[in-house]
């Protein structure tokens, strides 16, 4: 298992997350795709940290987790609020903020 394997896995996970975020409409799924992208980048951080033998990447992974946790709190609250008003979890539905 070299670093390359981890990086390839990280890229695959990130691409899956990015495509899912762009093509799925359900807000919950989009949200999970965002988490997938964040954790893909975490994987890359940790892999590079192990390659270089230092701790910076690991620390960054912790920061990403904290940010992700905060994002979950805010994001889920928004999704629940939108669902309550529109009875739908589609991300295309709330598009009033436009020209």
């Amino acid at each position: 298992m070299t670093t390359d394997h981890y990086i390839v896995l990280s890229a695959v996970l990130f691409s899956l997350g990015a495509f899912g975020m762009l093509f799925r409409r359900n807000a919950i799924v989009v949200f999970m795709c965002v988490e997938l992208m964040l954790n893909a980048s975490n994987l890359a951080f940790v892999a590079f940290a192990r390659m270089h033998g230092n701790l910076e990447g690991q620390v960054f992974a912790f920061f990403t987790m904290v940010v992700a946790a905060a994002e979950v709190v805010v994001g889920l609250a928004i999704i629940v609020a939108i669902f309550r008003t529109r009875r739908s979890a589609s991300v295309d539905e709330p598009s009033l903020l436009r020209f």
């Binding site: 990015a18 975020m21 709330p94 020209f99």
Partner: protein
């Protein structure tokens, strides 16, 4: 030199840290400053009693100054210098400026004059401003003026002196424009302010040059190095004084005299600057006197006279060690008799409903006896009639000027003759002759709060010259700071005094003959060109207007036009272009679909990534 009879041309004084009463040097300035700040901050709550507080504080400063004066007298004459370091002010690299106060014989003279005459003016103003709704404000400004003037004469370096200078400028602006609802007062204040800025410019350039040349702005440091310095740059030093002396004859210019005498070491090393100062002084004294002869408003005559007398002082200050002492001597005497006459004129105007046209006065001697008698003392003093004060100082200046050369000497003598003419004209038109009052005035003597300062100043105008000149007292007092040499005029001194006195009597008699009879109540229009010119301040204002004001106005107008058309125009064009473009095209990007935003973010990230790759390659 205390015991020696030989006078020294250069200063011999040494300075020491303060001890005893001199540790309270700062209090001299702090008292009136406190009054100004307190009255301004507390506002209308102090309306009822603020003016009493504002009067007591300068009196307190005066008492403190007298105590210090006695303290100075107790020391040997060369050890009368005190420097009090208060705190470090500006320290940038090699540049140091402290807030420090310096007390010596020269500063002491000014402090006594400022606090003494200043206190009398405060007392007088209690009566004069009795019915003014803004009286508290007036007293706050008066206190500010006294504090700034004290800072100016007590500063131990040029930068702090500049602060005092600006303070005096501000206070005189506020006081001149005090009745700002009158357009003339507002305009005069604005003019004084702008003209002071011209003087500031000269002074600030002078201070910068002093720092560049000597590496310090502290008086002792600068003076210690003058001998080694490049003297050509010193000629710039005269900048502030003549500029303001020519245009603005007020207390500020007394500050100019102080500045020259304080910087005597620098001026002694720069003969060109001294010559220029002498010329400016001579021209100013003649111009001021000529202007004084043609004015009909009593205060304007006195203003012209102030300009002329300051010309005398500047002339004397430019003469070097033979003149410094007499410049200060005349300044002190002038402080007494001019304050006396200005307050006397105010007393007259007070009972004439603020009229100031002398053609509407006349015969006031019968109704305002105290004002008449005290004014007479001032009148005799300014003409230089022995034994009144002006005789002692003006004669000395004429002697010193003659020792320097015939031209300044003759200018000073002729100036004395013209002075006698215009002062007698003023005196005759106001106090003698027939009454030409308008129907609505009922002249009466002013209240005693106004006449008592007049009486004190009248007495001082009468005796100050005699007392100070007694046994060369003023020379001995000031010599350690300014240096002193006896002037040696080419003709005997009694002859000079005699000729001057004859000129004075001739001038006075001419004026008396002409103005004791009927004076038309409107100014005659068919008069000589010289009179017309003198009525218009010898075209001084017209000159300033044409040379300084008009080009300045054109410049500002051109700049405004350029600003409107080019700068604002281009900005407006940019703004409307941006707005138009974004309104039409860019807003299409705001679709409202969060997935399209995510798409553009991803595309942006890829673009950045691609650019980074390309740049690395």
């Amino acid at each position: 030199m205390g015991t020696s009879l030989l006078a020294s041309a250069t200063p011999t004084i040494t300075y020491a840290p303060p001890e005893g009463v001199f540790t309270y040097l700062w209090l001299l300035i702090a008292l009136p400053l406190l009054g100004a700040v307190f009255l301004l901050v507390m506002g209308n709550r102090t309306n009822a009693w603020g003016h009493y507080l504002a009067t007591i504080l300068p009196i307190g400063s005066f008492v403190l100054a007298v105590v210090m004066w006695l303290g100075l007298l107790a020391k040997p004459s060369e050890e009368r210098g005190v420097i009090q370091h208060l705190w470090d002010w500006v320290i940038v690299g090699d540049f140091r400026a402290n807030v420090g106060l310096q007390m010596d014989q020269l500063s002491m003279t000014f402090v006594l004059l400022i606090t003494g005459v200043g206190s009398l003016i405060h007392i007088y103003s209690i009566g004069y401003m009795k019915d003014d709704p803004k009286r508290r404000l007036f007293f706050a400004y008066l206190n500010l003026f006294v504090a700034a003037m004290l800072l100016l004469v007590l500063a131990d370096n040029y930068l702090l002196l500049y602060v005092g200078w600006e303070g005096v400028g501000l206070a005189s602006y506020l006081l001149i424009g005090f009745w700002q609802y009158k357009p003339t007062a507002a305009a005069a204040a604005k003019k004084a302010f702008v003209v002071n800025r011209v003087g500031d410019f000269g002074l600030s350039v002078g201070i910068m040059l002093i720092f560049v040349t000597f590496g310090s702005v502290t008086f002792p440091d600068v003076f210690a190095q003058v001998g080694e310095a490049d003297q050509s740059s010193l000629t710039w030093m005269e900048g502030p004084t003549p500029v303001s002396a020519l245009i603005h004859a007020a207390t500020m210019v007394t500050a100019g005299v102080y500045l020259i005498v304080r910087s005597n070491v620098i001026f002694d090393a720069a003969p060109t600057a001294q010559l220029l100062v002498v010329i400016v002084g001579a021209v100013t004294l003649i111009f001021g006197a000529i202007i004084g002869t043609a004015k009909d408003e009593i205060k304007k005559v006195l203003a012209g006279s102030t300009m002329s007398q300051i010309g005398y002082m500047i002339l004397a200050a430019g003469l070097g060690p033979i003149g410094y002492v007499f410049a200060i001597f005349h300044l002190v005497n002038h402080g007494f008799f001019k304050a006396n006459m200005f307050l006397g004129a105010g007393s007259v105007m007070h009972s004439f409903n603020n009229q100031e046209d002398m053609r509407r006065f006349g015969a006031i001697r019968t109704v305002m006896v105290i004002t008449f008698v005290t004014f007479a003392a001032g009148w005799l003093a300014i003409m230089g009639v022995p034994p009144f004060s002006g005789f002692y100082s003006k004669d000395k200046i004429i002697e010193a000027a003659l020792a320097q050369g015939w031209i300044p000497g003759l200018a000073a003598m002729i100036g004395a003759g013209i002075t006698a003419f215009y002062m007698t004209r003023l005196f005759t038109m106001t106090f003698l002759g027939k009454a030409r009052w308008t129907d609505d005035v009922h002249p009466h003597e002013s209240p005693s709060v106004m006449t008592i300062p007049l009486i004190i100043l009248g007495l001082l105008s009468a005796v100050s010259g005699f007392v100070l000149a007694w046994n060369g007292m003023i020379e001995k007092w000031l010599e350690p700071v300014t240096g002193f040499e006896h002037p040696e005029p080419p003709i005997p001194i009694p002859l000079i005094s005699g000729i001057t006195l004859v000129l004075v009597i001739v001038g006075a008699l001419l004026a008396y003959q002409q103005y004791r009879r009927d004076v038309p109540v409107t100014a005659p229009t068919s008069v000589s060109p010289l009179t017309v010119a003198a009525r218009k301040d010898l075209y001084g204002d017209a000159f300033n207007e044409a040379v300084f004001m008009r080009p300045g106005q054109y410049l500002t107008r051109a700049l405004v036009w350029f600003d409107n058309r080019s700068i604002d125009g281009s900005l407006l064009a940019m703004g409307s272009a941006t707005a138009g473009l974004s309104a039409a095209k860019l807003r299409k990007w705001q679709t409202g679909f969060s997935r399209s935003y995510a798409m553009s973010m991803l595309a942006g990230a890829f673009a950045l990534f691609a650019i980074m790759l390309v740049v690395r390659l």
